[in-house]
């Protein structure tokens, strides 16, 4: 409460409060993110308004989220932390927290309460999957397909198992070059019930079953490793359908006007958010805390959805989601969390993959090489 008041005071009395803040807070921040449209959404929704309130602060972006874990390890070893706030996916946040490279925080203290009065802890709910993880958005990995390559007289694909149906939907598929998601989808289409997927995947036979299912389409798969690959392959007409992040598909369809359709079935939800690196100086930490409190409040997370089709991590932000900043279309129907889109969803199991990732990765890679 006290901190909220301080924040309000800062907003109201920019000049005097800014001057006071400058004495105890660092006036530059290095934020680490993914680049592209996603980083732009953060820039527009959080950073630009924050800098208007605090003109003395300068922000530098580092587009290194992809190798954040490795770089934070190296920084820690060299004793030279140059990042102030790092955007990572939830799985990486869990790893960094376990290794002591990310700072644990208290949600009630660090995060603002929802504008409807809910406490931060309740507002973010289950999405705080690790003591170090400050959730921002919910995104999903799902499929897009070329609408002009759907054979004549056939309904466009709407079921995850259509990925395996090479007869009805001939053409290449692009899948991510890692077992996560692909193994789950394969089991779902091999008759395993949704709630049993991870139980089956725990066993050797279950893993073999998933790989055997993937074998059916292996010859027609192009494997991708960067989020930009599938949009490029779809735009080229090189693949008929492919998996990627839903925001990339939104941009491909709505912003770039490509003949591509969304297939939301069995989309896999995942989270992305901030971590504060362990070992920041006092002044840097004070600045980052101030920024995080602002950047994760209800309005800011809702604003972000005007630039990219990822769902805000706060429950209280959902009703505030408006229109796309440039296209002026309603963003709600493009959110992975929209009721129409989330009729059949799959939630990525962090604990399972934390335990089994190395084993299944090795198995998957050797299967790929066969």
């Amino acid at each position: 409460m006290k901190l909220t008041k301080t924040l309000l005071a800062t907003t109201a009395l920019t000049v005097s409060a800014g001057a006071v803040a400058a004495q105890e807070m660092a006036d530059s921040m290095t934020l680490v993110s993914w680049g592209g449209a996603y980083q732009n959404s953060q820039q527009q929704a959080y950073v630009v308004p924050y800098l208007e309130m605090h003109p003395e602060v300068s922000v530098t972006w580092d587009e290194s989220s992809n190798e954040a874990v490795a770089k934070l390890r190296a920084m820690n070893e060299a004793g030279n932390i140059t990042w102030d706030l790092v955007d990572v996916v939830a799985a990486d946040a869990i790893r960094l927290c376990d290794e002591g490279l990310a700072m644990e925080y208290d949600p009630e203290d660090l995060l603002a309460e929802g504008d409807d009065g809910t406490s931060a802890e309740d507002d973010f709910g289950d999405l705080i999957v690790s003591d170090c993880f400050i959730p921002q958005i919910v995104y999903s990995t799902t499929f897009g397909y070329r609408t002009d390559m759907v054979p004549e007289g056939v309904e466009p694909p709407s079921d995850i198992c259509d990925v395996w149906d090479l007869e009805t939907y001939p053409g290449k598929r692009s899948l991510e070059k890692r077992p996560i998601n692909n193994m789950e989808w394969a089991l779902l289409c091999d008759g395993v019930a949704k709630e049993d997927v991870y139980d089956v995947l725990e066993t050797e036979e279950g893993q073999d079953q998933a790989l055997a299912k993937l074998d059916e389409i292996k010859d027609d798969v192009i494997w991708w490793s960067a989020g930009a690959d599938t949009p490029q392959l779809l735009a080229d007409g090189e693949v008929f359908m492919g998996s990627t992040y839903n925001g990339r598909l939104f941009s491909l369809i709505e912003e770039q006007d490509q003949p591509v359709g969304m297939m939301w079935d069995a989309q896999v939800f995942d989270l992305d958010g901030w971590i504060i690196p362990e070992g920041l100086g006092d002044a840097e930490l004070a600045r980052v805390k101030d920024f995080v409190k602002f950047a994760t409040d209800t309005q800011r997370l809702a604003d972000q959805a005007a630039y990219i089709s990822y769902g805000p991590a706060r429950d209280s932000s959902a009703p505030l989601v408006g229109q796309h900043a440039e296209l002026g279309i309603d963003m709600a129907p493009h959110m992975p969390t929209d009721p129409d889109n989330s009729q059949n969803t799959f939630v990525y199991n962090y604990e399972f993959w934390a335990d089994y990732r190395d084993d299944i990765d090795a198995k998957f890679q050797s299967w790929l090489a066969q």
Partner: protein, 397 residues
């Protein structure tokens, strides 16, 4: 063909040789046309027959008197046929094909391919003479194609690495300068360009000064362990870059240089020094030591001797080494990712992240600009090298 340099008289060869050879060439081109139209076999046969017919027409009916008319006619017919098959691009390809086959028919049929060769060569030797050249051309194409593909794609009107149907039909709508505009207006790219422009010249300056001094020192015979020192100095060229980069990262972190402008400049200078040492050492081989003794004899001190006598003579080597050092720094991505921080993000770094996160043709526009700069710099090196060769030719050795 000009008559002045003809060594061997040309004559019309028998059809038993001419028709199969030209037919084979036609069959080769027919493969592409046939494959595009759905039947490779028909393409091969059709190509062979058509080209053999052209050859017979050319040599039998029109002859050399009406060569010009006939060749233009073929170009026109092929262009029209190409247009009917493939629109505007087909027209261009067809015209080129017509030009080639017309030239090739007379070249083979009138045995002009022997015109510039000594008359005593056997058929096999003549064949090898030309296959060698074709082979060299093929290797050249293999090396240069990836760069050439990038250039037209950078004028793409779409936001993807794709030759759109509009581009392939030479529709002006399919082309645009938007990716160049993006490069010149985007803050990220301009910051990156500015960083590169700030880092590369400083790194070059350091590399050139240290490298030249090292090369001069190492070329005098009384320095002990010359070879060992030389090997250490040029080791950044041999050690895998990633190893140097990781080592520099930890070392620079400890002494507070990591993430600073000076750190990146020093790291790039270390990478550039080997190039300067090698080029300057090579120039020094042709440098006549008696000139320095003569200068000393005339009363010049070593520093005056260096600047007035030695430096002007080894300057071409110094400059070309400096250019290599500059390009190294300008193109370098691994070390800067380790040693630099987001504030020192250079062009190659920006391209690297852009390529991974956002496959945007802006990268191709930047690549095209960089290729143009590299070509300009390397041409300068080549011109300097020739000049230095000439100068070395004049100096007594």
């Amino acid at each position: 063909m000009s008559d002045a340099v003809v060594i061997t008289e040309t004559r019309t060869l028998p059809y038993s040789f001419t028709l199969p050879v030209i037919g084979a060439a036609g069959a080769f081109f027919g493969i592409f046309v046939g494959a595009a139209q759905g039947s490779t076999l028909m393409g091969i046969i059709g190509g062979a027959v058509i080209c053999a017919a052209i050859a017979w027409l050319a040599l039998q009916v029109f002859g050399t008197d009406q060569e010009k008319t006939f060749r233009w006619a073929i170009v026109a017919v092929a262009a029209v046929a190409g247009f009917l098959l493939g629109g505007l691009p087909g027209l261009v390809v067809g015209a080129l094909f017509g030009w080639f086959i017309g030239w090739f028919t007379y070249w083979i049929g009138r045995s002009r391919y022997r015109a510039f060769l000594p008359p005593y060569l056997t058929g096999g030797q003549v064949l090898w003479h030309y296959s060698f050249r074709v082979l060299c051309g093929a290797i050249f194409v293999f090396l240069i194609t990836p760069i050439l593909v990038v250039m037209p794609l950078s004028f793409n009107a779409e936001n993807f690495f794709t030759f759109t149907p509009e581009m392939l039909s030479f529709d002006p709508e399919g082309y645009s300068l938007r990716h160049y505009r993006d490069f010149f207006t985007s803050n990220d790219w301009q910051q990156a360009l500015w960083n590169s422009v700030k880092i590369a010249p400083m790194a070059t300056l350091l590399a050139v000064s240290f490298g030249t001094l090292a090369a001069i020192g190492l070329s005098s015979e009384h320095v002990p362990f010359r070879r060992a020192i030389m090997a250490i100095l040029i080791s950044p060229m041999i050690v895998p870059l990633i190893i140097s980069a990781a080592g520099m990262y930890f070392f620079y972190s400890r002494i507070g240089l990591q993430g600073t402008y000076l750190g990146v400049v020093l790291a790039h200078a270390a990478l550039g020094i080997p190039f300067v040492i090698i080029t300057v050492t090579a120039t020094l081989v042709g440098f006549d030591r008696s000139l320095t003794r003569a200068a000393a004899n005339l009363g010049a001190d070593p520093i005056t001797t260096f600047f007035r006598v030695q430096m002007p003579l080894i300057l071409p080597g110094v400059i070309s080494g400096g250019l290599f050092a500059f390009i190294t720094s300008f193109d370098e991505v691994v070390v800067v990712i380790f040693v630099g921080s987001a504030n020192q993000q250079t062009l190659p770094w920006q391209m690297f992240t852009g390529l991974r996160e956002q496959i945007s043709p802006t990268i191709l526009a930047v690549a095209t600009i960089l290729v143009a700069i590299s070509i300009a710099l390397l041409s300068t090196v080549e011109i300097l090298r020739r000049r230095s060769e000439k100068m070395r030719g004049m100096s007594p050795s």
